[in-house]
């Protein structure tokens, strides 16, 4: 044992470890690496599972360039992204600032728990409940409008192409039970008390403190949230599939739904694989890009 410690370089190879890793890598090879590679490879084929699949080169990608529904889905994703990183951050940010403005630890705990409680419900229940909120006849929103005499405003919110996308994005309002809230809150909790005390001595008001201390302190976390938002938005699909199926008139079409339709409705498996590959490359590009920018920013800061 002592000699082993003395010369770690000449330690004998512990062959047992490969035996331990073997089952894990067998499972990953079959159910993770193989499907990922098979998807990318079949992007270049007219994929007919169970039959011979001819190689078609870039044809699937050319089809994609002319696929209006696909591009429309990206316009929607862009709108969803803007909404997700402005309004859907503003409320969590406000809530985090408010929670930290409370004077007692106990009050903070109570409100934090109440605010994140919706996270304890399955996502599908949240979406189904909001589908009910929008119900044209019995839903909460139209019932409320009728109750206060605004019958004229009652509306088929998810059935009208003009309001469907906005209605989908409003699901979960005010979005405080979310990762951004948890991130903002823990960032604020990590601001050292001395900084606030110094700011108060200098006579900085609440707003000034927000701009000069809180926001800069949160900047690093905001970068991470931004990357996660891009990745999440590219995979957006649950709300759209349950509430609108991408309709009406493709007003809520998103890439994931287009990919699933290509596969399961049109049975164009190769085309669906190509769309999946594009989504993968986009996600990878965003992640790697963020990593590089983050590294450069970090170097600049330390230099």
């Amino acid at each position: 044992m002592i000699s082993r410690k003395a010369s770690p370089g000449r330690r004998r190879v512990p062959w047992g470890v490969y035996l331990v890793l073997l089952p894990t890598f067998v499972v990953l090879a079959v159910f993770a690496y193989y499907p990922a590679l098979s998807g990318m490879l079949h992007s270049f084929y007219e994929w007919r599972p169970g039959f011979s699949s001819p190689f078609v080169g870039l044809e699937n990608f050319v089809t994609m360039l002319g696929d209006d529904v696909w591009w429309e889905s990206f316009r929607n994703v862009g709108i969803i992204f803007i909404w997700a990183t402005t309004l859907m951050w503003a409320f969590p940010l406000l809530a985090a600032e408010l929670v930290m403005s409370l004077s007692s630890e106990r009050l903070r705990f109570v409100f934090r728990t109440l605010l994140i409680l919706p996270l304890a419900f399955p996502a599908v229940v949240n979406v189904l409940l909001w589908q009910f909120m929008y119900d044209p006849r019995d839903g909460v929103i139209n019932s409320f409008l009728r109750a206060v005499g605004l019958d004229g405003l009652a509306h088929n919110w998810i059935g009208d192409p003009d309001t469907a996308l906005a209605a989908l994005m409003t699901v979960g309002f005010p979005w405080v039970a979310s990762l951004p809230f948890l991130v903002f809150l823990s960032a604020l909790q990590n601001v050292p008390a001395e900084i606030y005390q110094a700011a108060a001595v200098d006579g900085a008001g609440r707003l000034r403190r927000f701009w000069s201390i809180d926001l800069p302190m949160m900047l690093r976390d905001v970068k991470l949230l931004l990357v996660l938002a891009v990745i999440a938005v590219l995979q957006y699909g649950l709300q759209a599939h349950i509430m609108t199926k991408g309709g009406p008139d493709n007003a809520t079409q998103v890439p994931v739904l287009r990919m699933l339709d290509a596969a399961f409705l049109d049975t164009s498996w190769g085309y669906a694989a190509a769309l999946g590959t594009v989504l993968f490359v986009l996600t990878l590009g965003v992640s790697v890009g963020a990593l590089l920018i983050g590294k450069r920013g970090g170097k600049g800061a330390t230099a």
Binding site: P14, V20, L28, S101, S103, A120, L179, L260, F280
Partner: protein
């Protein structure tokens, strides 16, 4: 408590609770130990400060209550309406109605319980599978040096970059070729793979920072490799094991598309796809519908109540890992 605007230099402030009578405790100004005369002089100021703190708390608390109410409103409505029959639903739309119809829950249980059962089975087996594979592999990556260690670990970590949605189509074809579509097994496998990858990465980090001395001591005492893993590493890694388990359970409870596409037999559906189907079948039957939603929510609510710390770590871990 960094944010006590009203008393900037009162970090060890004894009047943290706004209900406390300010007079026996020194005001923020007297914290630094000024004389008795100064203390009595500053008393009105202290009282003024405390009432300002209380006023801030009232305003802030009011605004937060509004936000919390808005966020919880759909769920409150669901619970209240789950006890009404359809007549009561329309007659007293905004208020609770008497008598309560517990029968709604009996009706909903009949439909939702198979989904709950499948979800429990899938979540249980996926968690067990992922934990067995991930703890063993992470232990090896964290505590042994062997040729190819970094390459193999890099191969695992690279899978974190592949979002599950992009492998959905090829994975579906693979399951079709293996002829396991429309079974519970087809639901379990992707959660085992995904969480094994996530588990290996987070567990390796955690296990690698445990002090080597503990393991050295165990080996000196004659404990073999397996013994060290089972009776030393597993207990030490309990927090991170709990996090991975919760991420797995949350993943099963929130995965919608995979069970929707791979399973047709009704009782093989997990909660997400099953509940969406249930909602279509029971449209306009508001009482039983909401009772069904409530039943489907119950397991996660219990987890949140009793394991709230792990639950939150699970949510953050799950989202960060891209699921």
């Amino acid at each position: 408590m960094p944010l006590r605007e009203e008393s900037p230099n009162a970090s060890p402030s004894p009047n943290a609770s706004p209900d406390m009578d300010p007079s026996p405790s020194p005001s923020p100004f007297t914290d630094t130990g000024v004389g008795v005369g100064a203390r009595t002089a500053s008393r009105p100021a202290a009282r003024n400060r405390v009432s300002r703190t209380r006023r801030t708390d009232l305003v802030v608390g009011g605004l937060l209550s509004l936000l919390a109410f808005a966020g919880l409103f759909p769920y409150l409505f669901m619970f209240v309406a789950s006890f009404k029959d359809n007549e009561q639903f329309y007659a007293s739309y905004w208020t609770p109605a008497w008598p309560v119809h517990l029968g709604n829950y009996a009706v909903a249980w009949e439909k939702v319980s198979p989904y709950l059962f499948t979800s429990f089975v899938v979540a249980g087996l996926a968690t067990a599978g992922a934990l067995v594979l991930a703890t063993a592999a992470a232990h090896v990556f964290a505590r042994f040096r062997f040729p190819g260690r970094n390459v193999l670990f890099g191969l695992v970590a690279a899978l974190l970059m592949v979002p599950s949605i992009t492998s959905l189509i090829p994975l579906f074809i693979l399951m079709r070729d293996l002829e396991i579509l429309d079974t519970r097994l087809v639901l379990i496998i992707p959660h085992i793979t995904g969480n094994t990858v996530f588990g290996i990465v987070v567990m390796r980090t955690y296990m690698a920072q445990l002090p080597e001395e503990i393991f050295e001591a165990a080996r000196v005492d004659g404990a073999g490799g397996i013994r060290v893993f089972v009776s030393l590493m597993l207990p030490l890694a309990r927090p991170v094991i709990g996090t991975v388990a919760l991420v797995t359970v949350l993943g099963v409870w929130n995965d919608y598309f995979w069970p929707l596409l791979t399973v047709q037999t009704d009782e093989f559906r997990t909660i997400p796809a099953g509940l969406a189907f249930f909602a279509n079948q029971n449209a306009q039957q508001w009482g039983p519908l909401f009772a069904g939603y409530a039943l489907a929510s119950l397991p996660l609510l219990l987890l949140f109540t009793f394991l709230s710390k792990w639950f939150l770590a699970g949510i953050q871990g799950g989202i960060v890992s891209g699921k």
